[in-house]
């Protein structure tokens, strides 16, 4: 009887080994990629704010696109697929690190930017980064000490062939794509894509494939979303979860709270200052601003790099109210003086269920901003909301109808020639609508228009009705 059990166990092991080896042989996949390991649940999973984020985790794409033999879909970082989303990002990061650190065994080939059409027609995942990353900064953030490939200047997007495991770095400004190939590059992205396609995701199309003159290659919209709906959200400022004294205590950790001076203006905004170096302002709208009075642009003694600036900014936010879930660096502006960096503005954005948030104050659509001057935090602004789901559903309009509505506005009412209008980007967002607290957040389409006329910029249209809620003026 024992022998029979032993035989059964051996047979079971043989079957398991055959599955693992077969998958490795045919799918060229690392063993850990075959099994999607469930990570330990995050203790802060239900909290909006989290801290101690690693700076590399702030490199996130604006759009994560899965290209599958001519069909495309957009993967949003939603709760039910967050493990898959994170795994794809992690595998891509690991592949970038492996490819750029390797001293041998990697072949690199340079293509024209048009090659992206071929990549999109094949089997690739495409991570469109929110801005053009400086190559050195990206490699520094990823802790690649001595990147081998020095001919790359910027990285706008990263693609991975999930069948070939080839890596593609897109430098749009220099009109080129670098293809990095090696038998050592492995990932489990293919199995992640399989899981996504088994769930029948929405089909998307690149409008530039149809008309590249009127639509940039970022314009990526779903087709047939007539049955799709999104929940209306409600939000209230994060500052309502604290007393003003609590917020002041976070910023003035090394001060005795009784030594702080506070002033409340007629609009209900509260200002705290230590009377020497720094102050904060807490607005009723939820905007929290920090200023270091002592840091001046003139004092340029301290040298710092972009990586230093990212580290300083990230640590500062981590220590002062933390990052909302799904935060990422959305832009970096830098100013140099005599070829030395002296000012840097780092902006962060966050998303709710994979959808970015647009604040009522459209100028704060990057809700966290940190200004670094001479290696110190000069200014820090944030307007973060605690978000709740409501029971109201919004049925979404076909995005092609949304484009039509906008074109009618521009062409018929503003008399702009259709040939002059070009759509630079288009994406779904949640827009904070109204000033009441709690504030409603409704699904919208943000359409970025470019052209040789004054009405260029962001247009925000209600995703349900198509009504234009905001336009540049």
């Amino acid at each position: 009887m024992k022998l029979e059990r032993l035989k059964s166990a051996v047979l079971f092991c043989l079957v398991l080994i055959s599955i693992v080896l077969t998958t490795q042989i045919w799918l060229n996949m690392p063993i850990e990629g075959i099994f999607i390991m469930s990570k330990e649940p995050d203790e802060n999973i239900n909290l909006l704010l989290s801290s101690n984020n690693d700076k590399a985790s702030f490199i996130k794409p604006n759009k994560l696109i899965i290209n599958n033999n001519g069909s495309h879909t957009l993967l949003l970082n939603q709760t039910e697929v967050s493990m898959i989303y994170d795994r794809i990002l992690e595998d891509t990061r690991n592949m970038v690190i492996a490819a750029l650190e390797a001293f041998e065994g990697i072949d690199i080939e340079k293509h024209e930017y048009e090659y992206i059409e071929k990549l999109r027609a094949g089997q690739t995942i495409e991570l469109q980064l929110p801005f053009s990353y400086d190559y050195k900064l990206l490699t520094d953030i990823l802790s690649i000490e001595d990147p081998k490939w020095q001919g790359i200047e910027h990285i706008d997007a990263i693609l991975v062939g999930y069948f070939s495991n080839n890596l593609y770095l897109v430098d749009k400004g220099n009109n080129c794509i670098f293809e990095l190939k090696s038998k050592f590059l492995k990932s489990s992205i293919r199995s992640m894509v399989d899981i996504i396609y088994n769930s029948r995701p929405y089909s998307y199309i690149f409008l530039s494939e149809v008309d590249h003159e009127r639509y940039s290659d970022k314009v990526f919209i779903p087709v047939n979303i007539t049955d799709h709906s999104m929940w209306k959200l409600s939000s209230y400022p994060e500052s309502q979860g604290y007393t003003p004294e609590n917020i002041a205590a976070i910023f003035f950790k090394d001060k005795d709270p009784s030594t702080l001076r506070s002033i409340e203006d007629s609009e209900g905004n509260i200002v705290y200052t230590d009377g020497e170096k720094q102050g904060i302002r807490i607005s009723k709208s939820g905007l929290i601003e920090y200023v270091n009075y002592q840091t001046t642009l003139e004092n340029s003694n301290s040298k710092f790099t972009l990586l230093d600036a990212v580290n300083i900014a990230t640590n500062f936010v981590n220590n002062n109210l933390g990052f909302p879930k799904d935060s990422y660096i959305s832009s970096i502006e830098q100013e140099t003086l005599n070829n030395e960096l002296y000012r840097c503005l780092i902006r962060y954005n966050y998303r709710y269920e994979g959808i970015p948030i647009v604040n009522y104050d459209i100028n704060m659509d990057n809700p966290i901003e940190v200004e670094i001057v001479n290696g110190e935090v000069k200014r820090y602004r944030r307007i973060v909301k605690n978000i709740r789901i409501t029971e109201e559903e919004k049925i979404l309009k076909n995005p092609l109808e949304i484009i039509d509505i906008l074109f009618v506005r521009l062409n018929h009412y503003k008399n702009i020639d259709m040939d002059d209008i070009r759509i630079k980007d288009m994406y779904m967002s949640y827009f904070e609508y109204g000033r009441d607290i709690p504030t409603s957040m409704i699904p919208v389409w943000v359409v970025e228009i470019e052209g040789d006329f004054k009405d260029t910029g962001k247009y925000i249209l209600n995703a349900e009705s198509g009504v234009i809620l905001y336009e540049p003026y």
Binding site: K7, T23, N69, H72, D211, R214
Partner: protein, 174 residues
Amino acid sequence: MLIPIRSKYMKILFIISLVMIILMSSAISVHARRLDSSIPVFDFIDGVAEVEQPIIYNNRELSIKGKALEGTVITINTYWYQVNKVKTIILKDKLNQNDISDTGEWILQHTEECQVGLSGIFGASVPIKPGRNKVVVESDTGESYEIELEYIDNRKITEKIFSDMFDRVDLIFE
């Protein structure tokens, strides 16, 4: 009739078969995934680029996109070729194309209509079935384009192999 697995030789045979099936299905999977295809843009202004047909395709959903003048009404019809004689998916590939045409008929699967707006673009996502499919896109001006594609669903192939081999096996281990 169910065949209970009671003898140890049958058990071994079953395990070997299982391993072989896994190997075969992954081979099919690899083969199916290596097929390249490109669905053309249905351009009613500048014409449609010629592509080799049937296009080999491996997704359940097919995205149709195209360009036409504002106001044009576009109708998209998809058809699936139903083979009269029941054949397995694998065997079908080996038959002469003419033989297949003689023994089946095109069945309308899906119809969709849309009017092109100022964007000048139309798009739709239509479901397709394993086997031969035909997409006909026509405008109200009388122009019409047609493509034929073959959808190879590796999952269905694997399921078919498994069901053919193990449906009548009663998995009783003693």
